[in-house]
Structures are given as structure tokens and as C-alpha cells.
Symmetry: D3
Subunit: 336 residues, 6 copies
């Protein structure tokens, strides 16, 4: 088993007016590339890991720009195919204080939704990989995406690659006729690490746990007993005072033990998008490179907190930045 | 009596450097259209009301752009005349934390100040209207503006249209030789609803009430006994910790009863301008569409709070946005 | 028969890096709303005509912004429905000199492609209309769009409304299984005015005429004899020295007579998109308001030339601007 | 007599959408400071001359920014007073190719229009000055501006300072009840150098000369015989192919001799505003520092040509830049 | 002794992506001019003092822009020489909340580092001066800068000019072979006022005082006994909750007396850079114009707090702005 | 011998105000990465070649951004070292029409100038390479750069790799004590292909050939007889009407035969920088992939022409774009 990490998922273009403007009062939008699994890939690559991202992008100048972005982060893009369908995209209006942010997607007929499962050489893509990261967004996009993912997961399980899932259930996906809960349960059955908390477990298992720490433990136990491939549960807790002020905390249920991180307050949020992906990337990095799951969780939580200060979907912070936050240096001294 | 709302007032262009820059360190300014009564009109139209705005704008490409803005919000602009004088405008330097914002006006010889009272067909403009909203800024601009307003108010009163006033006394207006207090008292005499608090009452009646809730009740009683046309007093209270952090609250004296809303904190203010106008629009909407004055006040206060998160003079939030804040959903979850 | 003009077609959002940048080297794009038939509508409204635009747009904040744009130009938007599919859009990289511009569309599964023909109240929409403008892009988008258009054309023909078509054949449309030539021939059969030249006629009739003036006459005759509902043929000729330097000319075959305009050179092109639509709008305006077809053609050609100097899809020039160009005032004196 | 140059006139703020946009399709404007006489002052200061600019500006943060601009160019601003009236300003829509630029002013009630003639200490301001430059715009703004100018001219004439006038007759000024022709004739009577051609002479003397070179000579003779204080006439000829392509030429009638410069073509105009002021500044510089009037005229024409390549009202080119154009180096080699 | 203030130090260009972006995700940077001593000069000039700034800048268009900036603030730039070396500059990535800001310098071979000590006419520069402000950054840049500074200080001391130092020890300077501590001790020996606290004293004297108020007093006593020219110690204390939330306080040890200001919280920091320089300028202003050192310290602390709300290196606030903060008006009312 | 291409040279950051502004009138600059040899590398990579770029960049966030740019273009960056010196950079003011562009460098003490020759593993870097491209700028920067280059050239010659040189003599380099002519002659002695014309030959050989085609042949013969390693001479001829209008032509002397391309006019230049590098890249591509030197020269000339339409240093056009220009399709039709 190798040292590389494979991520699989849609590459999305994000288009957003700057400075809290609504689209109606703008005439330009900033754009970024992202997508939940690519966000994880980029963050891991920034932290120094070798990452392969498998996807389908459009064969036009928008796809060229996306590919250029992926390469710029040193990610292996050899397994990204080009197709004639347009790149998926979304518009974002950024909220502030009591106004929530707003997202509108244009992805259900895009290049990734139209991925051809037989086009992916999973055998070669999984070579030298020790981790496979996927989220519940992918099988919710289209049946093709679901089938492509399942092929990859099957092979990865055979190869005993660690499979980490962020179920990320979204009710505005799953429009192609399959029931999200069933498919997610099936696919989580290939995975051994679970990033998610009470909400995600409730959605998948259709249970009714509360969000307190004890309930989290009960929910984790129920998840593990229902889907026994899962061995470890990691949860990112976010307490939103408002759109501009957020508190992050990590908690975990690992080997029948509960542990949690301290809380980190982000008093002036720059960007909410991708903070969960930053957590996932921090966690994977930590599981590979740090002493134990507890250190990994602290690293993940600090990475997640820092992402709130970075524009765009992707966490562009270094290992050193994260370790400073882990060590409690939050005072904002200028680095010269 | 109809269902439409009439607003009458100056259309102003606002020019402002972005990102807290001073004008001296900028070489471009963002611009917005607004003006206190147009702000109310736009917000009401966004909430789904039918609104007519009566005004005078310049007959050049600046006026064209203003008209285009007004139309874009679905406001009836049939009663807006075009004249050769330039459109009124103001420059704004946006403050932050301990630095206050700064405004400089260029309006006293503009197209609205030069409005010809006989050019307005008030009879036709007031057709189908149930509300007429005016503010104390209009009669402060010029004698012509005062006379035009008085004609409209007279006719509206005859037609038993609800007249709602925000006296908005500003000492840097009233340069044409009339005493603000006297004229405001005269014009408020046509109105039955009053948006204003202790400060406004003190300025108009030259009294000395404090700002606490009991004094507000006393001031309201004094106002009603002095100007008996006024039946209801609605007050927006703003507690500014600093330019970036504001708390809003509404209170009212209606039918010998006092009631108030809870406080809403806006911890990262995007734009202070037009928050009072957002309150007025929310109130009018509520008086027409909600169960009672108390619900209307809650709606007004939430609308006012949300305006602090929107750039420009105008509140671009929907009824649904406001109701969420009324219902206490302030956590800033992303809407997908 | 009324005086209003009806246009029917997709509302598109255009996204484009500024200053000749490629998308790859940008991180923001300017956006504009347009779409070939809406461009005609907007230009006609700017020229003072009453216009209704019939379409389908998305029911999200992108659709809100589009609607706000349409209203801002004073176009009647009562016949625009909202649906859950995303608004169609396209990306544009603007070329210069020897580098061509490049467009990539994302429209084939958008809100217009998914228009439901039975949702349009054509009877009411066509009330008071004397002109119906459509282009060959609409039936190329989807079968639904084709069927919706055909219903409108049928009824318009019954009502003896003038139907003007710009066939605008595009080979990268027509992906839903119908042959473009056949459907266009069918739909042109409802029309009495044709905007197009040798290329369009060759594409529709699968003929092989050259582009010189004599061939244009022959092609027009063939068109009229093949599709006898067509009475008049108007052609916009563009001679591109390069992406930055274009020459426009109009020619026509009307009542067995050929006439043409003088050539206008645009030595520094600001925007190529929508110049044909500017021609169409100028022509319709001229046919309604000017003395004869020859004057209309001159007006159309000047409008087309001026559009090359306006950013975005839409021609924002006034009648006075166009008449100056018609009168040969090309020297660029500043208007104060 | 000293070596300094005095200019007197309004400081204007210019506000303009970038990239050929119309105001209607923009939400920001770039701004510049200028004003025809200040443009001359700034250009002269950039060329190394000592310049005093006498004016009245607003006492607010807009005036602060204007003053900061004036100081940044090393101009002596000691004779600029601050008043409560707003700074004059204008909006500009920049044309291209066949579309002319468009200007709309807001100046007739600004700080300069309200200048108090007795506030200017002309005695002190004219100390050490050898040139006084004024234009016909100033007396057209307001009676106060006219009176203030006349006082200055009178004293300058007594002190035998060279007085150079650019009559710049504009019909959209002169709204305060005086006839432009009469006042200009009076004030030109204090001047000994005249920058203007057939148009200006026709407007002032109400003659009808053509624009060819022979007519220019006749017009000049007529001017000199009518207003005998004038000794020298310098004319900037501009031949506009269109808004993007201009040709400049200088010609003069000096001491009964005619001479002219070669033509310079500017094939991609960046900014038309202030090109005449660049000519005036180049001429004054040349009259002081170069060998004779012919060299001065060549320098003026090259300065004027170069201004077409500079954004804003003000010519920011160096003496070296101008001399290269005088010497025919137009090939655009990069200077490293 | 005169009333002017002399500052001596590097003019730096600062280049920074806007809106918290990293450089990697930007394609443009905003730029500002500054440099710690020039920041003090500019702030003093804004407050109404006469200031001379002595420096060396590049003889290219970057230097031209820097000079234009300096002149725009009314600073006497007669003692600024131009050299062929490039202007020093630095890049800044602005942090937020838990992410610190990051600076990277390019200054060690720039125009100031290459200053020729014999090129400065200190005799003339110090004429009419009552204050000389320098910081420990200057002697850390290069030996030439150190020697140039020492010459100035020597002469200033002879002339009994007040010399105020902000030692600003930075370990990433001092690369030319001298030990920072020794040289700073030598140069502070010429000074009578010291701006700095426990950290600075510890760094220079290699002591180990804590940061509490008692230790500050002890440290100050030690400093004064070690370097007896120093008579007064002023300290700016900053308590950073995070990069977006800072608290400022001033404290002083003057004439064997300790005093301090109240704390001011800045809850939404716009720009951290130059806040210490704002303090220094406020202090110098206060020492000259206010009643006593305590008032000067309050003024300095309020100036420092306000600088956190201004973009760029330079504090652009007026005396009136500062006095309002001194008087506790922090509520952010809009100034009209 | 492999198929890869090696380029060696400085990575430069370019900073430039947009829209023809001068730096003095700007407060932001766009930035791009480039450098003459990196420009060649990027263009070759865009054309589909495998390229290694060898260089030294700064170990800070500016270097990170540069590296990200290089990776985004798919260039092998394994041989780029990081050092503590700042990245070289230059400022550019873009000219227009009669105003030339202006460049100011800050590179002589940057990370590349301080390259350590022994840090480069030339043996490994040259593996699999068939072409080595260098320019005369590199040895002009510093002695270290010269020595590093010479080591690479020596080894490349031993390995019989094609060495192509663009001598690019610049008099404002060569400040470290060596004579440019001598060193260039030495280094060209390792090369077999020469890109340069009469100017370059005159500068290196200190001859005096004219620029006409016959003289070019004579100069080429002289070059080949003086430096017999050179076998082929390729010249890019640029005829600048002005900064906005350029004509390009290629000519060559290969195997005792002269041939040339047709001229291509670029009537609206977007960016002059890097056009020579685009020629070099086009030529190398052509020499490897096209039929003969004549086709390669046509390809190179078209690539060079297209670069005039692309912002930044780097030619971002595809092979298809170039072949269209080779085939004479210059009309600027929009590609959909």
C-alpha cells in the first residue's frame, strides 16, 4: 500500500459577488474552483501530501481554467477526463451577521453528472494509494456518478485502502430516482472512517439523536453497529452565533473512547464554504502524519477554523499555520 | 381607497470608496441610487407591494441611470419628471469600529430642489393609494419641495389616505429661510402615523425628554396631544457600540399601549445607510399585511437589522428573509 | 392591431473576463444579461417602443437579477415564468486583432430549454401587438422551445401580426433530434420578414450562393419562391478585417427592388456580441417609424455599427445617437 | 517680473465609468481631478515650471482630496480658498469609434461659482509671475467668477505680465444673464496671446470664416485688428476620423507670419479630455524655454498628441516624452 | 529652535491583495506608500504640523509616484534624493481572525539602503526644527543608513533639538555585520524621548522584564539609568484577541511618575500596519500642542486606535477625529 | 536524446497598472509572472511539449505564487530552488499610440542573481532533453547566473542537445564587471541555433549592418563564420507604426538559403511584452513538430503576432489558434 491519497468528485466553479453584494446589485463576480472532494485534495496537497483527483471536466476554456487551477496546486490530474458537457458551477451570495449566505447550483447536467463509469481506470488510479476520500454529494448527483464511485470503492476495499467518508447528505440532490439513505448506507459499507455527527447519522439511519456529546456517543455506537465496516467517527461541531461569527470544535468516538478538542472562535468570518472539507483534509493529514487520533482531531479542528479566514472553497494554509493555532497562538501578530 | 403606496422624495446618487478607504486614497467610487423615501419605496416593492414614487430627476444620462434603477425594482415611475438641473448626490466615506462614517451632500440646487409644485398631478398620483409616506428631509431641501409636498399631503388627507411620516430632522438642511420646527409641525398635522422617537419629538416640539422607555411614552403622549392627527408612534432604537457593531430595537405607543421588540445585534455592519428606511418600509408592510401593530413592529425591526448587512441605501431582502430573523434564526446557516 | 412588439426567446447570462484576458488568467468575470431576442427587445425599448418579452427564467437569485435587468429597461415582463432549472449562461473570452473571441454555452438543460409550451398564454401575450420577432436559435435549443414558439407563431399569423425572423442557424444547437433546416423552413413559413443573407439562405435551403450583391438578389428570389410567406429580405453584411476592426453594411431585396446602405467602419471594436440584434431592432423600429424600408435599413445599419462600441449584449444607444451616424457624423466630438 | 505662472479656474472632479461602459450599466466610476486651467497648471508643473493655481474648493473631504491632488503635482495651492459649497463635478461616458463621448456637468452652484472676488489677494498671488493663463470657461460660470477674473486680469496687465487666453466658448454656460461674446471681448482685451482658431474667432466676433489655413490667417488678422492687445494667435487643429482616431496639428499667426506643424496621428485614443489644455501648457512652456514660437508650437502639438494617450484630464508626460514625439519617434519601442 | 519636525527613514511601497486574499489566489495588488518614519511624517502633516522628510528614493516612475504621494500630504520633500537603485518594497498578505498577516520585504539593496551619508545636507535640513524622529529600523537596513542617521542625530543633539526614538528592533534586519543592540544603544544615547515598552527595553538591554505595569516602570528606570539622555518613556500596549480584534492602551514613565490611558477596543480591524507610527505621531503632536504628557498620551492612544480603521500604512485622521475618540465618542454615528 | 525541452532563466513578477494608467495615477497594479525563458517554457508547454524550467525563486509567499503559476502550466518545476533573496520583479507602464511603454527593473539582487551554480544538478536536469533554450539576459544579470548557465551549456553540448540562443543584448544589464559582447560570444559558441537579427549581430560582433534583407544575409554569414557552431539564423522583424499598431515578419538564413514569412499586422496591440519569446517558442515547436524550417518560421511568426493580443508575459494560445493565423484567417469571427 502506497502513500498517496485519492479523491473523487465534481470540480465546481463558484461565482460570487464580492463585498457582501447581492447578484442583483453587481455586475461582476469573482470565481474560484472547488468542489467538496477537490477542496480536500487541494488542502492535502498544500500540506505536502501526494494527491490524485479523479473527475470529469468540460472540454472547453472553462475546463482549461479548472485544470490549470488543479495543476497549480500540484495535484495529479492524470485521471481527469474531458467531456463536451459544461462544467458544473454554483453562484454564491455571501451573507453577513444576521443575513445567511445563499447558494444556487447548476450541476445536474454538467460534465461530472455525465461521467461514464467505464472511462475511469480505477486499477491504475488506486495504485500507490493508502487513502480514498469520498462524500455523499457524489452519489447524489447522478446515477452515473453513483456507479462510478461504487466501482472505485469496491476495488479500494479489495486493496485494503483506507476509505474515509463524509456523507454530507443534501436533500436538494438525489433527483435521479434513487433514495439517498439507501445508497449512502450501501456505500458507507465500503468505508472504515466516518466524518460526520448526529445530523448525518440521523439522516442516514433515520434516527432522532440530539446534538449533545452523550447523544453523539450513542449515535456513533448505533452507526458502528448498523454499518460495522466503520471503525472511527469524527465530528466537526460548528456553533454559529451568526454568519460572521462561528465557533468550531471537533469530537470523536474512536475505539470505544470519546475525546474532543477545545473550541476556537472565529470572530470575523471571511468565508464559510469548504470549512468541513478543511476539517476532513486536516484529519486525513493527521491520521497519516501525527501521533494519534486525538492529535489528528486537534489538527483538523484548527485547519477548519483557519479556513474561515480564507476566501474561496479551498484551504490555502500551511502545516505551520495550523500548528500555531493548535498551540493557541490566536493573537494575530504580524509575521515578518 | 386602493392598495398602492405612494412615496415622494428626492432620488439621490451615492458615491462611496469601497473597503473603508477615504476618498483621498481612492481613485474610484462605487455608486448606488437611493434617497430616504425611495429607499422605503424600493423595500416595499421588494416585499411585493405596489408602489409609486413621485419625484424630479435630471434629464441626462445620470437621470437615465437613476430611472433604470427605479424601474428595475418594479416601482411605478410615471410621476417622475425630468428637468435640466443635475441629480442630487452625496459622497460617503464608510467608517469602521471607532471611526464614524462621513457624508457630504450636493443636493441643494439639484433637480429635486428645483421641483415645480404645479408639475405634479397629485390627483392621478394618489389614485388607488392607501398609504402616503413622507419624511422631514423633503421640506428641508427647498421651498419648492415643501410646497409640492404640502399639496400632496392636503389632497391625501382629503382622500383619507394613511399618511406616515418620518420627521428625520436634519440641521444641515433648512437653508432657504424657513424654520424647520414650524413647517414640520404643520406637515405632521396632515399625518396619522409617526415614525420617530424621543430625539425627533424633542427637535420638533423643542422639548427635553430622555431616551429611556418611560420618557418615550411621555414624549409620545405630548406629541399626540400637541398634534392630534397623530394616532400611533413607532420608534426605532439603535444602540451603537461602534460603527461596526449595532443593536436595533423597536418600540411603540399605540392606542395608549406601550410595546417593544427584542434586541437584535448586528456584529459586523456592512452598511448603516438606509436602516431607518428599512424600518419604515417593514412597518408599512406589516401594518398592511400582518395581524397587528406588534407584529408589524417586529417585522420592521428585523427588516432594519437585516439592512445593516446590505450594501447601498436600499434594503434588498425578501419577506422570507425578514421572517426568519423575526423567528430568531440568526445562526447564519448557508441556504442552498 | 396594436403597437406593441413581442419578442420570445431565452434570457442568457453572459460571463466574461475584462480587458481581453483569458479565463485561465482571471479570477473575476463581468456579467451581462442578454440573449438574441431579448437584445432586440431591449434595444427597441430603449428606442421608445413598447415591448413584451416572453420567456422562462430560473426561480433563484440569478433569475431575480435577470428579471431586474429586464424591468430596468422598461420591458413588460408579465409573460416570463419562473422554473426550478438554472438560467442558461455562456462564457466569453474577448479576442483582439488576430485573435478571435471564443464562446462556451451552458444552456441546453436550463430554464428556457425546459419551457412548458402550455404555460404561455399566447392569446393574452399577443394582445395589442403588431410585430413578433423570433430567431432560429429558439427552436434549436429544445423540442419544448420549438413547440412553444410554433404555438405563438401560429396564433400571431392568424392575427395578421408581422412576423420577423432572423434564422441565425447554429450548428452547435439542434441536439434534440430534429433537423434544423426542416424546422426552420416550417417556422419561416409563418413569417413575412426575413433578416438574413446568403449564408443563412444557403444553410436553410441547402443552396450554394456566393456572397456578392448579385448572388444576394438571386438567393432572395429563391427564398421568396420557396417560402412565399416571406415578402422582404434584409441582410446585414459584416466585413471583418480582424477582431478589432469591422465594417458594416445593409442590403435588402424588397418588392423586387435591391438597395443598400453605405459602409460604416468601426476601427476600435468594443464588443461584437449582439450587433446583429441591434440591426434587427433598428430595422423593426425603422419599419414602424420611418418613411420607408430604405430609411429603415440605414437606421438598422447605423444601430448595428454603434452596437460595436457598447459593452454587453444589448444596444444601449438612443434614436438621436443612431440618427447622427445615419447623417454621417462620425468624428467623435464630445457631447456636452 | 518673475518666472512663475499663474492659472485661475475651477477645480472639477470628473467621474467616469471605465472601459467604455455607460453609466446605466456600471456600478462604479473612476474619478480624476481636473478643470481646464488646472490641467494647464499641472502639465506645466510636470514640465518643471513653478505654478500657482488660484481657485475656490469645497471645505469637505472631497475638497481635501482635490487639494491633495493639486499638492501631489507640486503646484502652489496657497491661494485656494475653501467654502461650504460643493465642489463642481462632471460625469463622462467615454465613447469609442462612431460613438461620441458624453459629458454632464454639475458646476453652476458649486464652490467656484460662488467664489467671492474680494477673497483673492491678487497682489500677492501675482508676485513673481511672468504668465497668467485663463480661459473663457471661467467668466461663463457665474458673475462672481467673471468679476474675480477681471480683477486679476486688470492687475496682471498693469504689471505687464503675459496674459494668455483660451476663449473656449461654450454655449451651455453663460446662464447668469451676461452675453458671452461681449464679456469675452472685454477680457481678451487684457490679453496679449490668443490660443484659438477659426471657430473661436467666429464665436467671439460673430464672423463666418472657414476652417482652411488661409481663412485662419484672415480670421487672425481680423481678431488682431478688433482686439489690438492680441499680438499672437496659436491654433490647435484636430481632425477626428472618429472617437478613437484623431489627428492633431498646430498653426499660428505671429508677427504677420504663418507657420504650422506636421500632423500627428493618434490611432488608439485613450482619452480626449484635456488635449487642448495640454496644447496650451506645451505652448507656454515652449514660449518660455524654447528658441522661438515655431519650436513652441511643435512642442505644444506633440504635448497635445501625447495627452490623447493619458487617462484623466491632466497631461502627465515629461519634457523628454514630448521631445521624442517632436523628433518623430512614434514607433512605440519599450523604454527599459 | 523652530517649529518644524524632521523625520528620516526609508520610503517603502507596500503591495497587498485586497479582501484577505492570498497572493497565490490574486492577480492584482493594491499599493500604498509608507515606511515607519514617513508614516509619522504624514500623520503629523495631516494634523497640521510642518514636516520635512529626509530620504533617498529611486529615479524612475516608481520613485515619481512615491514623491507625488509625499507631496500630496504637504510634506517638505526637498531633502529627498533620487538614485538608480530600486525603491524598497514589501508584500503583505492581510490576515483575519485566527490567521496572522504576513509580510515579505525587498529592501536590503534598495535606494535607501544605498544612501550616501555625504549627500544629506543635515545643517540645512535641521534648520527650524524642534523635533527629530527616528526608529531602529533605519540603522538595521545598511551601514550607510546607520552612518547617515548618526550624522543627523549628532548635529540635532548639538542644536538641542528634541530627539524621539522608536527603537523597533527587528531581528530580520541587521544583516550587514553590526550588532543591533550595540548600535541602538549608541544612537539612543543621542535621544531624549523613548517610545517603547518592556519588549524593546529587553531587546536592547538584553534584560528580562515582564510586561505588567510594575515591570514596565522597573524597565523604564533601568533604561534611564543605562542611557541617561532618555528622560521620558512612552509605551503603546496592544492586546490582540486575534487579527481582527485589538485593544490599545498607552502608558508612560515621565519624571518619576507613571500614568496610563484607558483601553480602546477595535472590534473590526481594517489595517494593523502603521498603528505604532500613528501612536508616535499622536504623541509628538500632543507634546507640542497639548497641555501635558498625559494629554499627549491620550491623544496618541486614540490616534493609534483610529489607525486600525484606515487602510494603508498612513494614519489619515484629523485632529477632530482623534479628539472625539479621546472624549469617548465611539458609537459610530454618521457625520453629515 | 529525449523529447523534452529545458529552459533556464529568471522568474520575474511583473506589476502594471491597468488601462494605460501611469503608476502615479493608480493605486493598484495587476501582476503576472514571466521572464523571457519562462515565457518560452510556458508557451511550449501550452503547445503540448514537455518542458523543464531551471531557476531559483524566493522562499516566501511571492515565490509560492510564482511556483503555483509555473505548475499551473504543467511545467516540470523540480529543478527550481528556493532561496532567501526576494523574487526579481519589474514595473511596467503600458503605452498607447505615440506614447511608449516604460519598464523599471528590480532584479539585480534577487533570488536568481544569487543563484549558486553548484546547486543545479545539470546532469539530471538535462536527462531526456533534446533542446536547451537560453537568452543573453541570464549572463547579464550576475556572475553567478553566468557561471551557472555556462555549466549547463557545456554539459548540453557534450550531450549533443540542440542549443538555441536568443542573445537579447540589453545595455542596462552587465553591471557586475564583465563585458557583454565577450561573454555572449563565448556562450553562443556552445549553441547551434541563433534567434536574432541585424541588431543583435551588430551588438555582439560590433559590426554595422543595415536592417534590410540583404544585409541580414550578410550579417548572418558573418555570424556563422565568426562563431561556426551556429548553423541557422532566425530573425523576428517588427515594424512598429506606434505602440498600438505593429507588424511582424520572420526571416531566416538556413543552409545558405534565405526565406521569409508574409507580414502580419496587429492593429490593436494588447500587450507587447513577450512577443519575441512567443516567436522563440513557436520556432522550437516548429523545428520539432513541423515539416521544415520554413513552416517552423511561419508558425513562429503567427505565434508572435498572436502574443500581441494576450495580456501578460506569456503566450496562452493553442496550436489551433496559431495554425489559423498561419492559414490567413484573421477576420475575427467568433468561435462558438
Amino acid at each position: 500500500m502506497g502513500t498517496k491519497i485519492l479523491t473523487f468528485g465534481e470540480v465546481l466553479m463558484r461565482l460570487s459577488p464580492s463585498n457582501y453584494k447581492t447578484l442583483q446589485q453587481s455586475n461582476e463576480v469573482e470565481f474560484y474552483f472547488g468542489g467538496t472532494e477537490l477542496n480536500v485534495a487541494t488542502s492535502l496537497s498544500t500540506l505536502g501530501c501526494e494527491v490524485k483527483h479523479v473527475s470529469n471536466i468540460s472540454d472547453d476554456f472553462i475546463g482549461d481554467a479548472a485544470l490549470s487551477f488543479i495543476k497549480s496546486h500540484g495535484i495529479d490530474s492524470s485521471y481527469i477526463n474531458r467531456t463536451e458537457h459544461p462544467l458544473g458551477l454554483y453562484f454564491l451570495e455571501v451573507g453577513s451577521a444576521v443575513r445567511p449566505s445563499r447558494i444556487s447550483y447548476n450541476r445536474l447536467n454538467g460534465s461530472f453528472a455525465n461521467i461514464n463509469p467505464t472511462d475511469i481506470n480505477w486499477e491504475k488510479a488506486l495504485e500507490d494509494c493508502s487513502y480514498f476520500h469520498w462524500t455523499g454529494i457524489t452519489p447524489g448527483i447522478s446515477e452515473n456518478a453513483y456507479l462510478a464511485l461504487k466501482q472505485g470503492l469496491k476495488l479500494a476495499k479489495e486493496k485494503e485502502i483506507n476509505i474515509i467518508t463524509d456523507p454530507a447528505y443534501r436533500s436538494n440532490l438525489w433527483k435521479y430516482g434513487k433514495k439517498g439513505q439507501e445508497i449512502l448506507k450501501e456505500l458507507i459499507g465500503y468505508s472504515n472512517l466516518f466524518i460526520g455527527g448526529v445530523n448525518e447519522i440521523n439522516e442516514i439511519l433515520e434516527t432522532n439523536f440530539n446534538s449533545d456529546d452523550d447523544s453523539f456517543i450513542e449515535a456513533s455506537k448505533t452507526l458502528i453497529s448498523t454499518i460495522p465496516s466503520i471503525k472511527k467517527v469524527f465530528d466537526k461541531v460548528r456553533i454559529g452565533k451568526n454568519a460572521s461569527n462561528q465557533i468550531t470544535k471537533g469530537r470523536a468516538w474512536v475505539n470505544d473512547t470519546y475525546f474532543e478538542t477545545s473550541e476556537i472562535e472565529i470572530s470575523q468570518v471571511v468565508d464559510r464554504i469548504g470549512t468541513g472539507d478543511a476539517f476532513a483534509a486536516g484529519l486525513i493529514y493527521g491520521l497519516i502524519h501525527l501521533k494519534n487520533e486525538e492529535e489528528a482531531l486537534n489538527f483538523a479542528n484548527a485547519a477548519c477554523a483557519l479556513k474561515h479566514t480564507i476566501l474561496g472553497d479551498v484551504n490555502l494554509v500551511s502545516k505551520e499555520d495550523i500548528l500555531e493555532v493548535v498551540n493557541g497562538n490566536l493573537g494575530g501578530r504580524i509575521k515578518r
